[in-house]
Amino acid sequence: SPRAKLPDYDVDGGRDLDIFDINEEAGLNLVEGDIVLDETQTRNS
């Protein structure tokens, strides 16, 4: 198998990141990992 002159590019940075991993790495602390609550909901919580 021929090797490419330039290396391949991994669009995921070589990792299998689910939505929640992406958000955690970004430092987001959202409800259930990816849910944004509005002000009314936050007060209820």
Binding site: D8, Y9, D12, I19, D38
Partner: protein, 648 residues
């Protein structure tokens, strides 16, 4: 989420912010197409509606749950969120869905291992009781795309979610496509009756053959059978796995006379978009000169019995397999699809043409099909870090590309399929612009379920950014493969250059690839496309300069109308009308947008009105008090006189 106030209209206005990545914009449009195909939910560019979804590149992938009625509701598709399932997942939140494992009854189906959850993340495993959240009468769905994976928020190496039925342990957390239950819930929540762009599907398992009919004026018939002399021996839907089922339609050319034709016509369908994709599996065991022709029979008031129009002739030598075919149609009025089998010459005394798993939808067809035979063997026997390549395919814009697949994963990724897209060029190629500008290559492993709406295919897209440079190099990544690639020799001995690949080492796990109908009859089918997405590099026109649907700018009608202050003239009901520019806290109004309003003016007006009312009330009160005072004073005086008179 319970509450009608959280529902969106069935057509949701969206605005793609400028900061979105181009690949993400393209994948968002693909996600919308899946919603249109499988549900009654549609999306339209925002044209001034009060509430709309603003899609932007935030620092992750997130959304609110339901329509919050806040005007501009934000939904983030950040870095690494540009996968179709991720986008569909976030939009399911926006449509009103929580995660599957937050259902009130989830403890009946999964066990949450609280001691394995990272500290401070326990709140992510809350449930919502059945006054807040409804499961809409749908059983718990381990296969939902809204379910966490088994390792979500773990603090070590052990899973945080253990399924009560162990077989579902690796099923949870799928990010391929909507599950059947995801769709059922969406249909129930939004009262859907059909997919917006879906037209027809048939696997011929029922005797009514989905309302298809034998066409008029032919000499022979298509027959519903479960096996045919000369092949195939089984249908494609079930591959003969289920006793008493497994039917397909067959035109026996062995017994037909030369010149005979057989017409099989679909039921009537009513197009909305004006373009369709017909997909079907075809087994050709007929003579080499026999042909299958695809027509549309179109109806209008002038042609009540319909007019036949030839779309495509499918020829080629017979092959002992069910082949996947795509035919692009362009019907704009009521029509049927017509399959015409024709026995053109003498051929074998057995065999014929067979059709199965027909799907008709108002979508674009995939451009290229790469079939990998004996795929299970290929996965099991290909050494790690070893690619196989699709044939080179040339797009309509003249760029050639191919898919590189690592059946046993790239190095360090055992148990995975890894997939990469490469540009290709041959010596002497001309006419292309390098680096290749804004072409989105999509690699889809097709779930070969007979019904297009129930497929959970796996796809990833990459986009050629002409400005992207290779890692540790100043060379453009998507430059001419003759410059940045390597020369390879094709199976036929011809030579070409293959550029570097862009893709993912974690395209799909072997476990998932062996599930559903990704492998059927031993074979896997990859559907490949290369689409131009350069139009997505521009800004989505905001409503102030974008005429609403159904209204078009007509220079003739609008030529005498001048809209001031960046207003735009549109034709509404045949009359010219100015649509005025609007900002966050200001707006123009008037029949020529000549007046400016702002929140400040509004506040001043409100204050002035309030003060005026207050002053008026004060005056009225004062007058009333003075009048009453005078009246009582007078009465007191009169009373004194009477008293005096009485006393006298």
């Amino acid at each position: 989420i319970i509450g009608d106030q959280y529902r969106w209209p069935k057509t949701i206005p969206y605005y793609m912010e400028d900061d979105l990545e181009i690949n993400a914009k393209g994948v968002i449009l693909k996600a919308f197409e899946q919603y249109r195909l499988k549900t009654c939910i549609d999306f339209k560019p925002w044209s001034g509606e009060e509430n709309y979804i603003s899609i932007f590149k935030g620092s992750g992938c997130f959304s609110s749950v339901g329509n919050r009625k806040v005007g501009k509701q934000r939904l983030s598709i950040g870095k690494n969120c540009d996968r179709i399932a991720t986008i569909e997942h976030e939009f399911l939140h926006a449509l009103g869905f929580w995660h599957e494992q937050s259902r009130a009854d989830r403890d009946d189906y999964v066990e949450i291992m609280w001691d394995r959850i990272s500290e401070g993340k326990e709140h992510n495993f809350n449930t919502y009781d059945d006054t807040t959240s409804s499961s809409l009468g749908v059983p718990y769905d381990y296969g939902s795309m809204m379910h966490y994976s088994k390792n979500a928020f773990r603090n070590g190496t052990e899973p945080t979610i253990v399924t009560k039925i162990p077989a579902f342990s690796d099923v949870i957390g799928q990010r391929m496509e909507f599950s059947d239950s995801d769709l059922l819930k969406l249909h129930r929540l939004y009262n859907c009756t059909k997919g917006s762009t879906f037209l027809d599907s048939c696997d011929f398992e029922r005797e009514n053959i989905c309302g298809m009919i034998q066409g008029p004026g032919d000499k022979a018939d298509w027959i519903r059978v479960s096996t045919a002399a000369g092949g195939p021996s089984t249908d494609y839907s079930n591959m003969g796995k289920c006793t008493g089922s497994g039917y397909f339609m067959h035109f026996n050319t062995g017994t037909a006379n030369t010149g005979d034709t057989a017409l099989l016509e679909s039921r009537l369908v009513y197009p909305k978009r004006g373009y369709q994709c017909l997909q079907f599996f075809y087994y050709n065991s007929a003579g080499p000169s026999d042909t299958l022709k695809i027509y549309v029979r179109e109806y209008d008031s002038a042609n009540l019995s319909g007019t036949l129009r030839l779309i495509k002739t499918i020829d080629g030598s017979p092959q002992e397999l069910w082949q996947l075919h795509h035919v692009s149609l362009d019907a704009k009025k009521k029509f049927r699809v017509v399959f015409q089998g024709a026995k053109e010459g003498s051929g074998p005394s057995t065999g014929g043409m067979s059709l199965d798993d027909i799907n008709l939808s108002e979508t674009t067809c995939p451009e290229f099909v790469w079939r990998v035979k004996n795929f299970s063997d290929v996965m099991d026997k290909t050494p790690a870090d070893t690619p196989i390549f699709s044939p080179p395919f040339t797009s309509k814009e003249g760029y050639t590309f191919q898919m590189g697949l690592y059946p046993s994963g790239k190095a360090d990724y055992p148990g995975e399929l890894s997939a990469y897209a490469h540009l290709v060029a041959r010596e002497g190629d001309t006419g292309q612009t390098w680096p290749c500008p804004w072409k989105q290559i999509t690699m889809m492993l097709m779930d070969q379920h007979p019904h297009i709406q129930k497929r959970m295919s796996n796809q990833r897209s990459v986009t050629t950014d002409p400005n992207m440079t290779a890692t540790d190099s100043n060379q453009f990544f998507w430059d001419d493969p003759r410059k940045v690639g390597v020369e390879v020799t094709d199976t036929d001995g011809s030579k070409y250059f293959r550029g570097p690949g862009a893709g993912t080492p974690v395209y799909l796990t072997h476990l998932r690839a062996k599930s559903r109908d990704f492998i059927k009859g031993g074979d896997a089918i990859f559907l490949l496309t290369m689409e131009d997405v350069s139009h997505l590099t521009g800004v989505q026109p905001p409503p102030s300069v974008s005429p609403a649907p159904g209204t078009t700018a007509a220079p003739g009608v609008c030529s005498n109308v001048e809209c001031l202050n960046n207003g735009v003239c549109v034709v509404d009901g045949g009359m010219p009308e100015c649509r005025c520019d609007v900002g966050d806290d200001w707006w123009y109004y008037g029949n020529r947008c000549q007046n400016k309003g702002s929140i400040k003016d509004k506040t001043t007006l409100a204050l002035a009105s309030s003060l005026s009312v207050l002053a008026a009330m004060l005056i009225i009160t004062l007058v009333t008090v003075i009048c009453l005072k005078k009246k009582y004073k007078k009465r007191a005086n009169d009373d004194g006189v009477i008293m005096r008179n009485t006393g006298a």
